[in-house]
């Protein structure tokens, strides 16, 4: 298992790097959206999976990244990737004070609080005249889907590498301890506020970096498109289906979801969402902790027997 993993991963990465050379427009768009959702799921998995703080508002940082990139490209004429990087840094800078306030809330209060926070950020962004208010903003054409795809793929791979590191690090152990019982973690010497804010910052940086690419992909952005609750929910479901707080959960969950969604969409275009929703419910009932923990338990049982 373990020995096969490395060459398999290298092959997968090579295939992903070469994909734009062979794929047609529809396929490359689909691949881009898949990689984007998986990367968003990895971002969400740090604060919500590892630290246990369920957020329904991380998409705010995606929107901030998208708008920051658009404004910088339109007004300062930076190369878009530099602008997208600035968008990510801005999201991170916003997340630190926000996290300091929001992470005092726990459980459903944090979840709802983040939802409200995302709406607030969205209203604030559209209140600025430079963003074209509610009517949106056009980006100069010129950067193709290929560039956006590579940018997003790089961030997705970076997010996976970051998660692998977290899962093995002292930082990750502290996050998991505070997820299980925050007070006990604190009385065992864990500086919980610092650990939570760091996790929250990383979970803002990743969507912040991805937002710029999405703005370029759309070429025209408006609040509903980038503060997208559909993208937000989709990435959350991917992480949960794959397995919260696991290294491979967001990837496996993301692949399973997009495959099922595409297959259903092609065959039952009218009712695919209904079937998809039903299927999700069944999957989550059958595998309450997600696909990866269920597989891990099965392997452990087999090797133990």
């Amino acid at each position: 298992m373990k020995r096969a993993a490395v060459p398999l991963a290298v092959l997968a990465i090579i295939a992903l790097l070469l994909a734009p050379l062979r794929l047609n427009g529809y396929a490359i768009n689909l691949l881009y959206v898949t990689v984007l959702s998986i990367a968003l799921a990895y971002g969400w998995n740090i604060i919500s999976g590892y630290a246990g703080y369920f957020s329904f508002g991380q998409i705010a940082f995606f929107g901030v990244g998208a708008y920051a990139t658009a404004l910088i490209v339109v007004n300062l004429h930076w190369y878009w990737m530099a602008a997208a990087l600035a968008g990510g840094v801005l999201a991170l800078a916003l997340a630190i004070p926000l996290g300091y306030v929001m992470l005092r809330l726990r459980g459903p209060f944090f979840a709802m609080g983040m939802f409200g926070m995302a709406q607030m950020v969205r209203v604030l962004v559209t209140a600025v005249p430079a963003t074209g208010s509610g009517s949106g903003l056009f980006l100069p054409p010129g950067s193709g889907i290929t560039e956006v795809y590579y940018w997003t793929l790089a961030i997705c791979l970076g997010a996976i590498a970051l998660t692998v590191w977290i899962d093995r690090s002292a930082f990750g152990l502290r996050l998991q301890a505070l997820r299980e019982d925050e007070q006990v973690a604190a009385t065992l010497g864990v500086e919980t506020t610092r650990a939570k804010i760091t996790a929250f910052g990383l979970s803002a940086l990743i969507p912040g970096l991805l937002g710029g690419g999405y703005a370029l992909f759309l070429t025209y952005i408006e609040p509903d498109a980038v503060f997208s609750s559909r993208l937000d929910l989709q990435s959350i479901v991917m992480a949960i289906l794959g397995g919260l707080g696991t290294v491979w959960g967001p990837l496996i969950g993301g692949l399973v979801m997009t495959q099922i969604s595409e297959a259903l969409w092609a065959r039952f275009p009218q009712i695919y969402l209904m079937i998809f929703g039903g299927l999700l419910v069944v999957l989550l009932i059958a595998l309450p902790r997600g696909i990866v923990p269920a597989l891990a338990a099965r392997f452990a049982r087999r090797s133990g027997a």
Partner: protein, 261 residues
């Protein structure tokens, strides 16, 4: 037994000479209209076994919460190793050398036994590998070696109690707060736990054991005892003095303490 008396005498001699490790001074805390702690004071010396006894609701757990920084008292002071730790965050108090267990065991269920303990060991370890190695030693020390890699949620109650102690020990504390660490154990297991606490005391680790019942053990191993009732300190002294204290006897409904365990 004679050996133990001798040890007690040595510790008592040291008590008069050394500076106190922990000083709780006139601590009060009310929850709404309930005065959970009412001007409680006590002093604990290095290596001392200190019993905090009292009926359910006397304020033992509240006092532990105050000392470990989980709750902030309305008045009074808490000093550890000569410095006031009032208002310190719990993680800072833990790192300074005060470790605690919880009355209702609270393992990190989805983490392995070793990782539960490694969280505390991280305070001293440079790397996570080192923390896990240290944790494995402590896990073996409390007799959970065979369960080291299992999830903590698979442990029995007795094992969970030991895990609580192991996690606290991994901090290498100078003072251990044991909240009802005997509750739910069989008599044999209680003896084992008592021996364990004595062993720690010999290594210089002081312990405050909050205990509701099991007076037999309290009388045998404690160097000093404070009795709490409804948030007030009603008696303090060595085991012999406590057993004959009229206020204590009254708080325990007239039952002579020696027979209550």
């Amino acid at each position: 037994m004679p050996q133990m008396r001798k040890r007690r005498r040595v510790v008592l001699q040291a008590w008069h000479m050394s500076a106190p490790l922990l000083v709780v001074e006139d601590v009060s805390l009310a929850f709404g209209g309930v005065q959970a702690l009412n001007g409680v004071s006590l002093e604990v010396r290095e290596g001392e076994i200190f019993a905090l006894i009292g009926p359910n609701g006397a304020g033992k757990t509240t006092l532990f919460n105050v000392i470990s920084g989980v709750l902030r008292p309305d008045g009074g002071d808490v000093r550890f190793a000569g410095r006031s730790i009032l208002g310190w965050a719990p993680h800072r108090i833990a790192r300074a050398g005060v470790a605690r267990t919880y009355q209702i065991v609270r393992p990190f269920g989805r983490l392995s036994v070793v990782d539960n303990v490694a969280v505390g060991a991280l305070v001293h370890a440079r790397t996570i590998g080192q923390a896990r190695n240290d944790a494995r030693d402590v896990v073996g020390f409390v007799g959970l070696g065979a369960y080291a890699d299992r999830p903590a949620s698979s442990l029995t109650l007795t094992q969970r109690k030991r895990l609580e102690v192991a996690r606290a020990l991994a901090l290498r504390p100078k003072l251990l707060l044991l909240d009802e660490v005997m509750a739910g154990l069989t008599p044999t297991e209680m003896d084992g736990m008592a021996e364990f606490v004595q062993h720690l005391s010999e290594r210089g680790i002081a312990a405050i054991a909050g205990i509701e019942h099991v007076m037999r053990l309290v009388m045998r191993i404690s160097h000093r005892i404070v009795v709490l009732d409804a948030g007030r300190r009603i008696a303090e002294g060595d085991p012999a003095a406590i057993q004959t204290d009229p206020a204590v006897i009254e708080a325990y409904l007239g039952a002579p303490l020696a027979g209550a365990g």
